[in-house]
C-alpha cells in the first residue's frame, strides 16, 4: 500500500512533462463560501531549479495508461512505478496546499485507463467536488481526454478555467510512428468541440448575462519538439493552423528531454533549449506582433536560425522596409522592428504625442539598442549606413545561395 507521499511523488514526477503551469486569463471573485479567487494575472508561487515556475499543483490522477506512446514516460510498456490517487485525495491536497498559499490551483491530467470517457469522468469528478462541495474559487486546469464524450467535455468546462487537449507531436506522421493509439483527427475533434462550446456560451452570455461561463481561460495544447524529424517550419505552420482553427490561448512547445525508461527509438540527447526558445519567439511573433507563419520561416529554410532571433532574421530578409521612423511609423511597422518589444511599442505611441523621441529616450525605455539602432530613425539618430546594411544583406543572401549550390553539388539534389 503506497502512502499519500509516495503517490504524490510518483504522480507529480509523471506530470512534469506537461509544460503548462499558467494560472492567468480568468477572473474569479471570492464567492464567500470557500477559499480561493483569481485576479486574472496568474501567480508563480515557487520556482524549481529547472527555472520553471510552480503555479499549480500539477498531478496525474494515475500514471497507469493503456496507451503506448513512445515519447511518454507513462506508456504501458515502461517499467515505472505506478500509482493512483482517489479524487478525494486530490481534493484534499489541493485545498491544503491552497490554504497555505503554495499554489494558485490544480492542473489535473491522467493516463488513459479503461476508456477516454471513464478517464474523463474521473477528472471531472475532482473538479466537481472542488467547485460544488468545497466552493473552491482557485484556478482549475483539466486535461481534455481526446475522444471523450461531448457531455463530459461540457461539464468539465463548467468547472475548469482552462481545458487542454494535447496535440502531442507536430505531424500526423509523427503520431503514427510514436503514438499509435492517438489520432490527430480525434484530438482535433475534441479541440473543435471545446471551441464550439466556448462560442455558444459567449453568444449565450450576450443574450443572458447569467449563462454560466465555459472554460473562461480558454484552451491550450502542447507538442513535444525534437523527438521526431519534424522541422520548425512544420511546427510553426501547425501552431498557426491550431491558433486560427480553434482560437487556442497557447501552444506549448516542450523540447524533448531524456526520461527514465525511455524507448531506444528516441534521441539520447535533449533537444537544444535554444530551439524551444526560438519556437516560443516565433509563436510570440504570430500572436502579438502580427506575423504570419510564412513570414517567419524563410522559403528556403526549414528550421529557425539558432543564433539569430526570428524577428531579426525577418528584418534582415526585408531591408527594403527599413529604416522605420519611431516618431511617425504606424504600430504595425513598429512591432516589426528588432529590439522593440510590444510593450515598448505602446509606450512609444503614447509618448510621441507629447514628445519626440531621441536615441537616449529609447535607451531609457530599455529598447535593445544594439539590435534596433540599424533599423530606426529617431530625432537625433539615423542608421549610420543604411546602404551598407543593404549591401551586407545582399552578400549574406549570395553567401547562402553559394552554400546551397555547394551542398547540392555534393548531394546532387537541386
Amino acid at each position: 500500500m503506497l502512502s499519500i507521499q509516495d503517490k504524490l511523488h510518483i504522480l507529480s514526477y509523471a506530470a512534469k512533462y506537461d509544460a503548462s503551469c499558467a494560472s492567468s486569463g480568468a477572473k474569479r471573485s471570492s464567492n464567500g463560501k470557500g477559499i480561493g479567487h483569481s485576479d486574472g494575472a496568474g501567480i508563480c508561487h515557487s520556482y524549481t531549479p529547472d527555472g520553471r515556475c510552480i503555479s499549480l499543483l500539477k498531478l496525474l490522477l494515475t500514471n497507469y495508461c493503456t496507451y503506448d506512446c513512445v515519447f511518454c514516460v507513462n506508456r504501458v510498456s515502461s517499467d515505472i512505478r505506478r500509482a493512483r490517487l482517489t479524487p478525494e485525495e486530490v481534493v484534499s491536497l489541493t485545498l491544503n496546499f491552497y490554504k497555505r498559499n503554495y499554489i494558485e490551483g490544480l492542473f489535473l491530467s491522467s493516463g488513459i485507463i479503461q476508456s477516454p470517457d471513464y478517464t474523463m469522468e474521473q477528472l471531472v469528478r475532482v473538479a466537481r467536488l472542488l467547485r460544488t462541495v468545497h466552493h473552491f474559487g482557485g484556478y482549475i486546469h483539466i486535461k481534455a481526454i481526446p475522444g471523450a464524450s461531448q457531455l463530459l467535455l461540457h461539464e468539465a468546462g463548467l468547472y475548469a478555467d482552462r481545458l487542454s487537449a494535447n496535440i502531442e507531436l507536430p505531424t500526423q506522421q509523427d503520431l503514427v510512428q510514436l503514438a499509435p493509439e492517438k489520432k490527430s483527427n480525434v484530438i482535433e475533434a475534441t479541440m473543435a468541440e471545446i471551441h464550439m462550446r466556448m462560442q455558444e456560451t459567449e453568444d449565450g452570455r450576450k443574450r443572458l448575462q447569467s449563462t454560466p461561463k465555459f472554460a473562461p481561460a480558454g484552451q491550450s495544447t502542447q507538442m513535444v519538439v525534437g523527438a521526431t524529424p519534424a522541422t520548425d517550419r512544420d511546427i510553426i505552420y501547425r501552431a498557426s493552423t491550431l491558433y486560427k482553427s480553434y482560437q487556442l490561448r497557447r501552444v506549448y512547445y516542450t523540447g524533448f528531454s531524456p526520461f527514465p525508461e525511455a524507448d531506444a527509438r528516441l534521441p539520447l540527447k535533449p533537444s537544444p533549449m535554444m530551439r524551444e526558445h526560438r519556437l516560443y519567439q516565433a509563436d510570440w511573433l504570430m500572436r502579438f506582433y502580427g506575423f504570419e507563419a510564412n513570414e517567419i520561416v524563410a522559403d528556403d529554410d526549414l528550421n529557425l536560425d539558432l543564433d539569430t532571433d526570428p524577428k531579426m532574421s525577418w528584418a534582415r530578409r526585408n531591408p527594403h522596409l527599413f529604416p522605420v521612423d519611431v516618431n511617425a511609423a504606424p504600430r504595425e511597422m513598429l512591432l516589426r522592428v528588432p529590439g522593440i518589444g510590444c510593450g515598448n511599442v505602446e509606450r512609444i505611441l503614447r509618448i510621441r504625442r507629447y514628445h519626440q523621441l531621441s536615441a537616449a529616450d529609447l535607451k531609457k525605455l530599455h529598447v535593445r539598442w544594439r539590435d534596433a539602432a540599424q533599423f530606426i530613425v529617431a530625432t537625433d539618430h539615423m542608421p549610420l549606413e543604411v546602404a551598407s546594411l543593404r549591401a551586407e544583406v545582399s552578400t549574406a543572401m549570395q553567401m547562402s545561395l553559394f552554400q546551397q549550390a555547394a551542398v547540392s553539388a555534393l548531394t546532387g539534389v537541386l
Binding site: 524549481t48 531549479p49 527555472g51 510498456s77 498559499n101 527514465p260
Partner: protein, 479 residues
C-alpha cells in the same frame, strides 16, 4: 572677502511613512507656493543628517488663490510609490506634483527623468507586492477558536497595506494573520475587516507545518533534472525571498544530483536489456538451440535451471507461443510439459493436430519465479523482460516460417501484438503484424487451470480449443 550670497532657506518637513500624511503636507506646501528646491520632505523613519544650512521647520500657511491640480493617475501611482523605502521618494513626488501644475501631460512623457524615476519605483513596489502574494507561506495552528493560519514575511518595501486586500479576498473564509517587521495584519471571517497592528519577529509564526513535507515532495517531483537551469530560477525567485520558503532547503541537493540522474536515465535507455547480441546470425533451429544457453540478455538466466527453447515441427505451419516455461519445463528443458502443457496437448488431440503441424515455444525463454518455502511460484515477466527476449522469438519465427502464430495468453500477445492488445476482446481474430503475416491470440491453458469454478473452466477450455481449431483450419486452407 566674498560677497554675501542670499542665504537659501531650506524648509525641512518630516513625513511619517504613509501616503495620506505626505499628501496633506504636500498640499500645504503647494498652497504656500514652496518650490521643490526650497523644501525637503524627510523620511521620518530615517535619522536626519545634521545640516549646516539654516533650516526652518515652522509651518506657516500662506493662503493663496491657487488651486492645486492633481490627476487621478498621479494619485494612483503616488500611493504605490509612497510604500517605497527610498527616503527621496517624498521629494520626487513633490517635484512631480509641482511640475504637474504647469504641464498636465507630464506623466505621459515616460522618458522624463522624474517621471521615469517614479515609474521605476512604482514598478519595484508592484513587483514586491506581487512577490509577497506569491511567497507568503501560511502555517496552521489550532487554538480555542479553531484553525488559525499564520505567516511571517519580510517584504522589501512597506507594502503590507497594499498587499493585504488580496489575501482578504482569497482567504475570506479563513482566519489568518501575516506578520512583518514593520506591521502586521489579521483577518477574521466573522469580522470581515483587515485589522492592522504592530510589526513582529519571525517567531510570531509557528515553526513548522504538517503539510510542508508533502509540499517538498511535490517540489522535488515536479523538477526536471534534464532541464537544469538554476540562474533562471534565481532571477525569478531571488535569494532575498528564500527566508520563509520551506522548499528551498531542497535546492542544493536537487541541483547537485541532477547531472547524475540524467546520466543514469540515458544509460538505462542505451543499455536496455536485450538478447540481440546473443542471437546468432544464422537462424536455423539447431544454431538457435546451441546459442540460447549462453544468453545474458536479461537477469532471468541467473535463477533459472536452464533455458527452454521451442520444439516441434521444424517447418510447422502453426506456431504456438506461450508466456514462459514453468517449474517442470525449467527442470526438463522442454516447453509445455507441465500441467498447462498437458491441457494444451489434450486440446490439440481433440482437434487432431499432427506433431509435424505445430511448433511450440515461449515469449520468454527462462523461468521467472519467487521462492516460497520449497515451492517455486510462477511470476509474470515484466514488459522489459519480454522485450529483451523478443529477438529469440523473432529468430525462431524466421527459422520455422509458420503460416500462423497463435499467442497463448496476454504476455505472448503483448510481445507480438503490442502493449495495448486486449485479449478477451480480440481473441480468435487473425491479425497481421510486422513480425508475422498472420497472428491470432487466445487464452493461455494455465488460465483454464486457474478458473474459479467448473463452468468457467469448461468455457475457457472451449475458447482455447475452438480458437485452435479455427487456427488449424486457417493454415490447412492456406496450404
Amino acid at each position: 572677502m566674498a560677497a554675501a550670497l542670499p542665504l537659501l532657506t531650506l524648509r525641512h518637513v518630516d513625513v511619517p511613512p504613509n501616503f495620506e500624511a505626505w499628501r496633506t503636507l504636500a498640499r500645504e506646501a503647494l498652497m504656500r507656493g514652496d518650490a521643490p528646491e526650497t523644501i525637503d520632505f524627510r523620511d521620518a523613519t530615517v535619522a536626519a543628517p545634521q545640516s549646516l544650512i539654516s533650516t526652518s521647520s515652522e509651518l506657516r500657511v500662506v493662503p493663496t488663490e491657487r488651486k492645486a491640480y492633481v490627476s487621478a493617475l498621479f494619485l494612483e501611482k503616488a500611493r504605490v510609490v509612497a510604500a517605497h523605502r527610498d527616503p527621496q521618494r517624498w521629494n520626487l513626488l513633490f517635484r512631480l506634483l509641482y511640475r504637474l501644475q504647469s504641464n498636465r501631460n507630464l506623466l505621459k512623457i515616460e522618458v522624463d527623468a522624474d517621471v521615469s524615476a517614479m515609474l521605476r519605483m512604482e514598478q519595484q513596489v508592484r513587483r514586491d507586492i506581487h512577490k509577497m502574494h506569491a511567497f507568503v507561506r501560511f502555517r496552521s495552528m489550532m487554538d480555542q477558536h479553531g484553525e488559525h493560519m499564520i505567516a511571517w514575511y519580510n517584504p522589501e518595501h512597506r507594502i503590507l497595506e497594499l498587499a493585504a486586500p488580496f489575501f482578504a479576498e482569497r482567504f475570506a473564509v479563513m482566519r489568518w494573520s501575516i506578520f512583518t517587521p514593520d506591521a502586521s495584519v489579521a483577518w477574521d471571517p466573522l469580522v470581515k475587516q483587515l485589522q492592522f497592528g504592530p510589526g513582529a519577529g519571525r517567531e510570531s509564526a509557528p515553526a513548522e507545518d504538517e503539510m510542508e513535507e508533502l509540499w517538498k515532495t511535490y517540489y522535488s517531483g515536479i523538477f526536471n533534472p534534464a532541464r537544469l537551469n538554476p540562474s533562471v530560477m534565481r532571477s525569478h525567485m531571488p535569494v532575498k525571498y528564500w527566508g520563509q520558503l520551506p522548499e528551498v532547503a531542497l535546492i542544493p541537493t536537487l541541483i547537485q544530483s541532477a547531472g547524475e540522474r540524467v546520466n543514469e536515465m540515458v544509460q538505462l535507455q542505451t543499455s536496455k536489456p536485450s538478447a540481440a547480441p546473443f542471437v546468432p546470425e544464422r537462424h536455423s533451429l539447431p544454431a538457435l538451440r546451441e546459442a540460447m544457453p549462453g544468453c545474458r540478455g536479461c537477469d532471468l538466466y541467473k535463477c533459472a535451471t536452464q533455458v527452454v527453447p521451442g520444439a516441434g515441427g521444424a517447418h510447422a505451419p502453426l506456431m504456438l507461443v506461450g508466456e514462459q516455461p514453468g517449474d517442470q519445463e525449467d527442470l526438463e528443458g522442454k516447453p509445455f510439459v507441465g500441467p498447462a502443457g498437458k491441457l494444451l496437448r489434450k486440446a490439440l488431440e481433440e482437434i487432431h493436430v499432427t506433431s509435424k503441424e505445430v511448433f511450440m515455444t515461449n515469449a520468454v525463454k527462462h523461468f521467472k519465479f519467487t521462492q516460497r518455502g520449497k515451492r517455486r511460484m510462477h511470476q509474470s515477466p515484466r514488459m522489459s523482460e519480454i522485450t529483451a527476449c523478443k529477438p529469440w522469438l523473432l529468430a525462431e519465427i524466421d527459422a520455422v516460417k509458420p503460416k500462423l502464430i497463435v499467442c497463448l495468453g496476454a504476455s505472448a500477445a503483448k510481445s507480438l501484438l503490442g502493449g495495448t492488445f486486449a485479449l478477451m476482446r480480440d481473441r480468435g481474430k487473425v491479425l497481421s503484424t510486422p513480425f508475422a503475416e498472420h497472428v491470432m491470440a487466445t487464452v493461455h491453458p494455465s488460465a483454464v487451470l486457474r478458473a474459479p469454478d467448473h463452468a468457467m473452466r469448461e468455457q475457457l477450455f472451449h475458447h482455447l480449443r475452438d480458437d485452435l481449431a479455427s487456427a488449424l483450419q486457417f493454415v490447412r486452407r492456406a496450404a
